[in-house]
Symmetry: C2
Subunit: 86 residues, 2 copies
């Protein structure tokens, strides 16, 4: 499935979370990632994220069966090199 | 349409962008917003955002005809009070 992930982490743990998210997804902006994951990959990502996260940290996942349904538009600087326009 | 907005702004301009986004959308995390917008509202939001933005700033919009297609999951602290689980 297609996943958008956004985190809001304490700066102490942000490096770890960035590394984890990059393992599974494409980085598109600051703390925003997107990519195609299997159900198992998503479960693994969530489990690993929970191990890193502490009080006050937050992670939001938007899940979509098909990327097709979601249109992405970037205004201003495109931070990642992945061309993912639909 | 259902819109997810994520911005990455210079701290000098972040306050203005926050205020603008809150005018149109619901704040869900740090620099992440979501909500239902008409085509006209979206165009207005984009035009106003472009007036605030300068070099290095970035805004990503994910647009979906129906919120129904997108499933949201929050791990850790839920920063907004809006209950928007599907």
């Amino acid at each position: 499935m297609y996943v958008i992930l956004v985190y809001d982490m304490n700066t102490k743990r942000v490096g770890k979370m960035l590394k984890l998210c990059r393992k599974y997804l494409n980085w598109i902006q600051n703390s925003v990632f997107e990519g195609e994951l299997t159900k198992v990959q998503l479960e693994n990502l969530k489990a690993e994220a929970k191990e890193i996260m502490k009080e006050g940290d937050s992670l939001i996942l938007f899940k979509n069966r098909e990327q097709y349904w979601l249109q992405k538009e970037v205004i201003g600087e495109e931070k990642s090199s992945i061309d993912n326009f639909l």
